[in-house]
Amino acid sequence: MKALWALVALLGAAALAVLATSRGETVNALWLVTAALCTYALAYRFYSLFIARRMLRLDAARPTPACVRNDGLDYVPTNKYVLFGHHFAAIAGAGPLVGPVLAAQMGFLPGTLWILVGVVFAGAVQDMLILFLSVRRDGRSLGDMIRTEMGPFAGIVASIGILAIMVILLAVLALVVVKALAGSPWGSFTVFATVPIALLMGLYGRYVRPGRVLEMSVIGFVLLMVSLWLGGAVAADPVWAARFTFSGVTWAFMLMAYGFVASVLPVWLILAPRDYLSTFLKIGTICALALGIAVVMPELRMPAVSRFVDGTGPVFAGSVFPFLFITIACGSVSGFHALVSSGTTPKMIGDEAQIRAIGYGAMLAESMVAIMALIAACVLEPGAYFAMNAPAALVGTTVEAASSTITGWGFPISAASLTQLAHDVGEHTILARAGGAPTLAVGMSRILSGALGGRALMAFWYHFAILFEALFILTTLDAGTRVARFMIQDLAGLAVPAWRRTESTLANVAATGLAVCAWGYFLYQGVVDPLGGINTLWPLFGISNQMLAAIALTLATVVLFKMKRQAYAAVAAAPAAWLAVCTLTAGWEKIFSPVPAIGFLSHAARFAAAMAEGRVMAPAKTAADMHQVLANDYVDCALTGLFMAVVVLMLGAGVACIFQALRDVRVTTHEDRHDLPLLRPNV
């Protein structure tokens, strides 16, 4: 057995060496897959076992909430593999697909290393620890646990932080959809079609065959494929194509209206059926991509390390440290998972020992999704990658201008091949489609058409990939708006209790409206931004997501001290410290950097100077636009400042709790003891 693990270690090291030393020639993607799989196997076998046995002392004999409170509804002991699927479906989303695609501008190596190191020591550790904490506390939520372990003040600070991250998350995901669908009649038609399809599924599941989720999803999937085929016909017809061609701004307002309506309507009508469909499509497509990569074995055309590690990249501004570490969040470490790991999963674990497979294991699987997204971006010619991801303000709006600028950067690409690529995937243009989804879709269509259908099916696979991403982003959008609404009601209820009444239509509509306005503001700002918006919003999202991870790991550290297991505190404290350093440095640079592409204040100063001279600078077309740009900069600044303040306050609260725990000789944590009589009523 030992020899086998030594072999795995050797193989992984060899694969990493091949990746790291490749210069000038292409490398096969299988090396990347091998390096990742070996790393995951070793980390799971050794590090997660160490955490499970030595540090947490998981006790298979200890009853879990699912056993004690088994009600057949919320608390149900569930088969390990089924629960793995449930948990994986809840943590995997657009995040691990977008971040690595953006990070590919620095070459495939920096992103790969952060994904692998990050998941082993931070991401999977966080998911496992929070799941453990929640299982030991009756499946309670992250906010709840912070309140009981770190005090009410820390609880409120964390709640505000969680609401802010929701707003930015929804805005940036909506922006990804806008970037993919603006000016694309094929994509727009299929995404429109998902609404009646979801309605039909909802009615079927409510009245025809109640509760048959699988049946209605199969029906939905078949209709989806029909709409995908119809979309091709629509795009080919000049009259219909014009009817389904929308600008980015129009899409932004349509998404806001959709988010509002879908989250106010009864959930069974549109929100839930869409959720079922996107869950199955997500898992199916991820498996298809994995198979595609294994069959096609594509070559990575992107260099291992590109010249843009110096921070001058067109996709996002800023150097490797700290910006790579906030650009790739999901896939290496994502604070959002702390919310999922303290949601439904802890109520379904029948055996504490499974925390290792579910918490650590599912995150490794998510990390593999990020690696596959990175591969999909890197199988493109680098020139095509930059043409798709660089903003029009930098490379121009024609294929000729784009090809000459990008060739000038050292990534040769001809105008004809850019036109050909757009034609292959059934689009008018592929320029300036930042945001990850289209790049991933082109990469996926390369891989999948290589496995099935050849060039003839490339357009189909491209729009399939766009549809798949748009579908689950829209699902996040409506479900997320709903969650944000509950958070707003909860927080506003602290001041005015009437807000708390979730059955009141007025409070519901007002809170939903507030939630939509909040993310809609950032979405609109991103859509009209000449630098593409992703440039500004993705770092904000990354900062907020990593901030949440730092908070979750701080909570875990505090509890370790309270449990008198501080000998192992570094397992949680080290990644918490690293994430705090990354988010605070990135936040500081976003506010104060003298480079206008990075720093909000210096960007604002440039516009203020132009306004003083009476000049109008792009993207502004009028003096009023200039005021808007300035206002946006200050709002972004304030939001970044808020994130930093939340991190600092939570770290402070954490340190205070640790000292308090050290002064006490007893174990001071608040675990539920199921061998004692239950204190709380069974809710």
Partner: protein, 72 residues
């Protein structure tokens, strides 16, 4: 339906049922039959929700306040 292969017997319809239940649980819908069996075994006499009511209650719980957080 019972199927025999390699000298073992399999209940195909039972296997299909559990496969469907597993897939539905991945999408957040617990198994109705298991819920009924659980109530019958451990809380005899308690009112059992109909399949429709069970489905509605689960959907509301998944997308209601405090439920159903999924990642980006």
């Amino acid at each position: 339906m019972i199927c025999r292969c390699f000298g073992r017997t399999f209940d195909v319809s039972q296997a299909a049922r559990s496969a469907r239940a597993a897939v539905e649980l991945v999408a957040g819908l617990p198994d109705y039959d298991r819920y009924v069996a659980h109530l019958r075994d451990t809380h005899p006499g308690e009112a059992v929700l109909s399949r429709e009511a069970f489905f509605r209650a689960r959907q509301d719980a998944r997308f209601g306040a405090g439920g159903g957080l999924r990642c980006c």
